[in-house]
Amino acid sequence: MEAAVSLEGLRIVIGWTAVLVVLLYLPLQSRVRRTGAYACGLDTKEVEDVDPESMYDPLVHYVMGDIIEEKHDGSVHEYYYWLLAGLLLVLLAMIGGVFL
């Protein structure tokens, strides 16, 4: 049983490590860009032109990161609505769990 558990764990680790390598390798590659006048291949130089802080911006945009950030702009009214929604959710879960 323990051996089976370890094997399954190992599969999980290998799986997400593969995803991780792809996820981390690609943005790091895109950080270097060739700039400058190109003359007979002599004047080109490589510069770091992408801020490290923005290296996952395309991914963040894809998963609606900017919208989530926007929703955390300190508006207390909006936060109250969240609290209310949470309270209703808990109430519904309790009522559903006990009486239904």
Partner: protein, 490 residues
């Protein structure tokens, strides 16, 4: 005779009183008192663990009044471990406060508030009575508001006000919940309440009371959608205060939820806590990936990691105790990582006066220990092999994947996102050229703290069964309702 663990509350309260008094004699006394009080509290908590393990539960009736009328202090496996974590965070906060710059210089009132807040948090964990849980929650919350609001800087007042308004609403919910539970069962003693809920069942009023209570506790744990206070308060407060809020308040909130689920037997809530955990890990992870201020990143990261803990705690009701044990194990790892990361951020802030990622680029490049600490912390959060996060997540995912495969896949993807924002921070701080050259020197006390926490994260990663057995003990002891009831009510 009172067991040593219960003295920790009084030691911290006494320290909170003595710190301003000591400042009248010498300005150097308050940090010394704070250090001594938190150290003593830690020693008392850790010293009591073997005794709790041996007896199953330790109780003390205040002023000799017998429960359910009297007020009992109770320490079982779960509360013992959480009290130790709070004490560890407390000592680290005092260490960080004495060596790092805050915009409002840490004076005697600062130390007094830190100690009173710690006393409140420890009191919540050791209280065997719901009303006292509320009282200690208020003590810790009011201190937290004051600690955040005393910081100077642009936008602090507004954020502190948001924190106060949300906090006040949540504690009102807890009070309302306490009142409704009392109206339903005529008792507020947790053991007696568990006994009566078992025999009478949940009445309509008790369901509403329970919902208010749970909403208040979820607010403390900062689970989505109750999490909004965390980035505001941590972003506004000083760095050690941020550690206190993430490591102390959140840990206590998780404890309260675990106690409600396990000891009071709120079975309908396991699924809710589980799904809110999943939502928190996703929202926190994505927001951390987008944030550009270190304190906000750590706050969102904490929301995400608390989601993982609740994924385990809630998952224990759906997939077996192992998930809950792994959740407690993850909580321990999370506290250790928080201490490491906050210590490094505090040093960076001391040198640069900002926590904006773009303005301290390459700041830690010259300091190998900080770089190593940061990497261990980040890898620990993500759950990389040989760190504590690996074992805790593995033992959490294994039972849950059989019942909720989709949620487990989401949790695994969020682990990757965690590593992504960790690497983004590490890359920015340690692997890019600095704009200005500043020599970062960690004081020996902080170096020692960093090394010890890193060592603990790695040991728990190499020997995950150690962390798991601690979690197992906590969950089993919280689930042993008859032992808890017999221990408290006699």
């Amino acid at each position: 005779m009172m067991y040593p663990i219960f003295w920790s509350v009084f030691v911290l309260l006494a320290g909170g009183f003595l710190a301003p008094v000591g400042a009248r004699i010498n300005r150097g006394i308050p940090p010394f008192i704070a250090g001594l009080a938190t150290l003593a509290s830690g020693v008392l908590c850790f010293y009591s663990l073997p005794e709790i393990y041996e007896n199953g539960i330790l109780t003390h009736n205040m002023a000799g009044w017998v429960p359910p009328v009297g007020i009992p202090l109770v320490a079982d496996g779960l509360s013992g471990i959480v009290a130790c974590l709070v004490a560890l965070v407390g000592f680290s906060v005092v260490l960080l406060s004495s060596r790092t710059r805050t915009d409002a210089e840490p004076d005697e009132w600062y130390y007094s508030l830190v100690l009173v807040m710690l006393a409140g948090l420890t009191g919540v964990v050791l209280s065997g009575d719901l009303f006292n849980v509320f009282v200690f929650l208020e003590v810790s919350s009011v201190s937290a508001y004051a600690l955040v609001a005393r910081q100077k800087g642009y936008g602090v007042a507004g954020r502190a006000l948001v924190f106060v308004l949300l906090g006040a609403l949540s504690t009102s919910l807890v009070l309302l919940g306490v009142a409704l539970e009392y109206a339903s069962y005529g008792t507020l003693n947790i053991a007696d309440l568990a006994l009566r809920i078992g025999s009478i069942g949940l009445t309509g009023v008790a369901v509403f009371g329970g919902a208010f209570l749970v909403a208040g506790f979820l607010f403390k744990s900062a689970l989505v959608p109750f999490h909004a206070w965390k980035p505001e308060a941590v972003g506004a407060g000083a760095i050690p205060v941020g550690l206190l809020l993430l490591g102390g308040s959140t840990t206590t909130g998780v404890y309260l939820m675990a106690r409600t689920l396990y000891t009071l037997g709120a079975a309908p809530l396991f699924s809710l806590v589980f799904y809110l955990g999943v939502a928190s890990m996703v929202v926190g992870g994505i927001a951390a990936l987008h944030a550009s201020d270190l304190k906000r990143i750590l706050a969102f990261s904490s929301i995400s990691q608390t989601g993982f803990v609740m994924f385990g705690v809630g998952g224990s009701g759906l997939a077996g105790e192992l998930a809950g044990s792994a959740g407690v194990f993850h909580l321990i790892g999370m506290v250790l990582v928080d201490i490491v990361l906050f210590a490094i951020v505090a040093l960076l802030y001391e040198a640069f006066g900002t926590t904006s990622l773009s303005r301290i680029r390459g700041a830690g490049r010259a300091n190998t220990l900080l770089m190593a600490g940061f990497m261990v912390g980040v890898l620990g959060l993500a759950g990389a092999p040989a760190t504590s996060g690996f074992g805790s997540k593995l033992f959490m995912f294994l039972p849950v994947v059989r019942v909720h495969p989709l949620s487990t896949v989401v949790a695994m993807v969020v682990s990757v996102v965690t590593l992504a924002y960790g690497i983004r921070m590490a890359y920015s701080l340690f692997f890019t050229r600095p704009a200005k050259s500043v020599r970062l020197v960690a004081p020996p006390s902080m170096e020692l703290l960093l090394i010890l926490c890193m060592f603990a994260i790695l040991v728990l990663g190499v020997y995950p069964e150690m962390g798991l057995s601690i979690g197992e003990w906590a969950v089993k002891s919280a689930l042993s309702r008859p032992v808890y009831i017999a221990g408290v009510l006699g």
